[in-house]
């Protein structure tokens, strides 16, 4: 059972407000180690510098979108095993299929509530303590 306090999460979104909102929701879950990146390129930079337990990334970003980031993560020697949750829009069915093929752990449709985010994380990480 992973401990929320010890979990290191990277949140990737190019929209400041939404990214910070996601972080705020994670904090309310008791997660304390949160890194932020505003696009896939920055995310890879951060991911290669420190250990991570989970990446939560939006899809639409102007430099390296969420799917490209997922593929980069899965092809990277150091971070390839880090669980990955992709944020998608209401109508992005095809994206979920593509992401599944690329090795995504879970997806989350925006907008989401704290409860759903937690549920999606627990589906991947196990029940949070």
């Amino acid at each position: 059972m992973p401990n929320a306090v010890a979990l290191k999460v990277l949140v990737v979104d190019d929209q400041d407000s939404v990214r910070k909102m996601t972080c705020l929701t994670l904090e309310q879950m008791g997660i304390r180690h949160i890194h932020e990146a505003e696009n896939g390129v920055k995310a890879m930079e951060i991911a290669s510098l420190q250990p991570l337990d989970l990446i939560i990334s939006d899809y639409y970003m102007d430099q390296m979108d969420g799917l490209d980031l997922l593929r980069a993560v899965r092809g990277h020697p150091v971070v390839r095993r880090v669980p990955f949750i992709l944020l998608t829009g209401r109508g992005d069915r095809e994206l979920v299929v593509k992401a599944a093929q690329a090795g995504v752990n879970n997806y989350l449709v925006k907008p989401f509530t704290g409860a759903i985010l937690k549920q999606k994380i627990e589906q991947v990480m196990g029940k949070l303590a």
Partner: protein, 728 residues
């Protein structure tokens, strides 16, 4: 961590930026300038607005943005052609979206049915009626029908106990000197499992500069072992002068990176061993150096080595640099601006003291003071650039205005913007919007002719309005020009006569007639349309512009169009001023108003009947105004050999020679408004504090020239004493 309210504000700021992107993008596409990326950028901006609105719970915004987004998506996929009609609907949608953001920001209820018409138009474009949209709204937030099983983290583990690690051993240069041997560490590592290392001789210097006790070689490779990462790391626990990294390589089949890995990733051929000194060679020997025939990668996991961990970083560096910005409250900047103002005053006082010191004592001091002056100026400029904002923020509102007014009056008008990035102080930006809106509205409503009339006149059916901005010296010049009908001079003249603004028998040049529209009282209740009447409020526009130190000029050619140009100072807080003396009083004149200063010989002054005197300047006659008379100060009211004539540009191309007694010098002055305490005083723009601590009034040259015709002595005199008491 920011609060929810702060995040909402951030969201609205993002929306404002997004709206500009949307509008700009759509306009570009409409003009055929849009690249493939443009529609994607517009889509992303709408998508972001929708996403954020969803998270922050602005339902109305989400719903509209969703339909908008779907339409854009259809264009993006090529299902819908981006014809002019379609883009027009999209532009309307962007206006509605912008309004919805405003409602949400203000916390207002969205009026019932707001934007419904536009929404239907969008839905028609994507071939969807209202019912279909309802269905979509009801769609679950999860793709229940999709066969997606979340992948547990545990399920991602390797299949056996044997794990593959990527290891890198990089001795620091001093390692050997400290008595440590990297070789021992490597031997220990080898005991844990199958070790496959490659030497990296990149740091090896020339033979001549090589030192035997410096560790140059590093190693990277893979280790297959049943040990845990911690157990491996233990080996290096006490080797403080050796960089060591170990990371587990997953048992996953490698997935291709989106960025192709180029040949560079392959290690360059090593230098011949002959170059290596004995010691290094000895150290290297036990490790399979294999410079002749490198072995094939041991197992599929090894290709990971080809993708060096530095890769994403290199990629990040190669990526186009992103503008990094930070949001600062305006209030904080204003505090610093005030501080710099005080600094300028203190510095001027210091300058005065230094000036009064006996020579020899002051030399070194004044040298340093010069430096301080220089730095203060740079500090001020830097600060002002922080307060500065691109005029684009005001310009961006105009396309919508043009569209709306043009639609209302049934005209075809295109707006061309240029120089949107020109920066000017925020305080000026804020007061630019109204006059500009007014001028542009006038242009569309009355400048540009109806399509039929344009065709009849041999013009393009679509009228053009150009809005441009640019820097000219220490001022910003904004120009609005249209290719419409220009000013109807006869009508203007008749109206002016009717209103008694011009004598019935006065003969006026075309320019003079054109400028009549800016006279106070020219425009009254006789409104020509509900949007604007040519000339309605033009005097208000002029007053607004003048209030912020601007000058307005107008040029109209009948049948060809008209141009309105106004120039504004870049900043209102600190300005370059010329300190002058009139009698015993000190005044400051804005440098930007001064064309030249001279001390003309008596013979150059012509005393024409009905004037106070004319200065003959290079064949031109410039009317003289005696500041002493105007400001009611006892001063010589004749140009003597001592007095100075300051030639100023009084706006609208007229020049005026102001007669003062002495020029004291040029200096930066801090503008202190006196309007709050005294109300507007004709002829006086503001006050400032001089180096000796005394207060001086800053003259408003344009108003002075108006006053020259009708002086009100006493006003300024009364002020002089009062301000000195209050400002100080």
């Amino acid at each position: 961590m920011a609060s929810l309210e702060q995040l909402k504000l951030t969201f609205f700021d993002e929306c404002a930026e997004g709206m500009q992107q949307i509008e700009q993008g759509l306009s570009d596409i409409r003009d055929g300038l849009g690249a493939e990326d443009t529609i994607n950028a517009v889509f992303r901006a709408v998508h972001s607005a929708k996403g954020g609105a969803g998270i922050f719970g602005f339902e109305g915004l989400v719903e509209f943005a969703h339909v908008f987004e779907t339409t854009l998506d259809a264009i993006r996929r090529g299902d819908l052609a981006a014809s002019t009609d379609v883009i027009d609907v999209l532009l309307m949608a962007s206006d509605i979206l912008s309004d919805l953001v405003q409602f949400s920001r203000a916390g207002e209820e969205i009026p019932e049915g707001f934007g419904a018409e536009c929404r239907q138009m969008l839905e028609r474009l994507i071939g969807k009626d209202g019912v279909g949209a309802e269905e979509e709204e009801a769609a679950p937030a999860d793709f229940e029908d999709l066969d997606f099983v979340p992948v547990m983290f545990d399920a991602m583990g390797g299949d056996d106990d044997m794990k593959t690690y990527e290891v890198s051993v990089r001795p620091l240069p001093d390692m050997l000197k400290n008595g440590c041997d990297p070789l021992l560490l490597i031997r220990q590592l080898r005991q844990l499992g199958e070790l496959d290392l490659k030497a990296d001789g990149e740091r090896l210097p020339d033979l001549a500069s090589m030192q035997p006790d410096v560790a140059y070689v590093a190693w990277t490779g893979t280790l297959r072992s049943t040990s845990t990462k911690v157990q491996i790391e233990e080996i290096f626990e006490f080797a403080s002068d050796c960089e060591f990294s170990v990371s587990e390589v997953g048992g996953f089949p490698p997935i291709e990176m989106p960025v192709p890995v180029v040949a560079e990733a392959v290690a360059p051929p090593l230098q011949p061993l002959d170059n290596s000194p004995n010691l290094t060679e000895e150290v290297m020997q036990p490790i399979a150096f294999e410079r002749e025939a490198p072995p094939p990668p041991p197992r599929p996991a090894a290709p990971a080595a080809a993708i060096e961990s530095a890769e994403p970083k290199a990629q990040a560096r190669a990526a186009k640099p992103q503008a990094t910005t930070t949001r600062i409250e305006l209030e904080k900047i204003d505090r610093v601006v005030n501080m710099v103002g005080e600094l300028v005053i203190a510095q001027a006082m210091l300058g005065q003291i230094v000036h009064d010191l006996p020579e020899g004592v002051s030399d070194r001091l004044s040298q340093i003071l010069d430096e301080v002056v220089h730095h203060t100026r740079e500090l001020k400029d830097g600060l002002m650039s922080m307060r500065a904002q691109a005029v684009g923020t005001v310009f961006q509102r105009m396309p919508r205005l043009v569209r709306e007014v043009a639609m209302k009056v049934g005209k075809k008008v295109r707006l061309e913007l240029s120089g949107e990035t020109t920066e000017v102080d925020r305080s000026i930006i804020e007061r630019l919007s109204d006059p500009l809106t007014h001028i542009i509205r006038n242009s569309v409503d009355h400048g540009i002719e109806a399509p039929a009339a344009r065709l009849a006149a041999g013009k393009n059916e679509e009228g053009t309005i150009r809005l441009s901005a640019g820097h000219r010296g220490s001022r910003i010049v904004i120009e609005v020009s249209d290719d419409g009908a220009g000013i109807n001079t006869e009508r203007v003249l008749n109206k002016a006569r009717e209103k008694g603004l011009v004598a019935a028998d006065a003969v006026l040049t075309e320019d003079e007639i054109n400028n009549l529209i800016m006279m106070p009282g020219f425009s009254t209740a006789e409104t020509i349309s509900d949007i604007s009447g040519r000339g309605v409020g033009m005097d208000v526009v002029r007053t607004n512009i003048q209030e912020i130190g601007g000058r307005l000029s107008l040029n109209s050619v009948r049948g060809k169009g008209m141009t309105i140009q106004f120039s504004l100072p870049l900043t209102l807080a600190v300005m370059d001023g010329m300190v002058i003396k009139v009698g015993r009083e000190t005044y400051v004149m804005p440098m930007s108003a001064i064309v030249e200063c001279l001390r003309p010989p008596r013979s150059y002054i012509n005393n024409l009947v009905g004037t106070r005197g004319m200065l003959q300047l290079r064949g031109e006659l410039v009317p003289l105004v005696y500041l002493g008379d105007l400001l009611d100060i006892s001063s010589s009211s004749e140009v003597s050999g001592e007095s100075v004539v300051i030639i100023t540009d009084a706006g609208e191309g007229t020049r005026l020679g102001l007669v003062a007694d002495e020029l004291c010098g040029h200096q930066q002055v801090v503008v202190k408004s006196i309007e709050e305490s005294y109300g507007p005083v004709p002829g006086v723009a503001a006050a400032t504090i001089l180096g000796n601590g005394s207060v001086a009034l800053i003259l408003d040259v344009e108003k002075l020239s108006d006053l020259a015709g009708d002086p009100v002595p006493g006003t300024v005199t009364a002020l002089r004493g009062g301000v000195a008491a209050k400002v100080a």
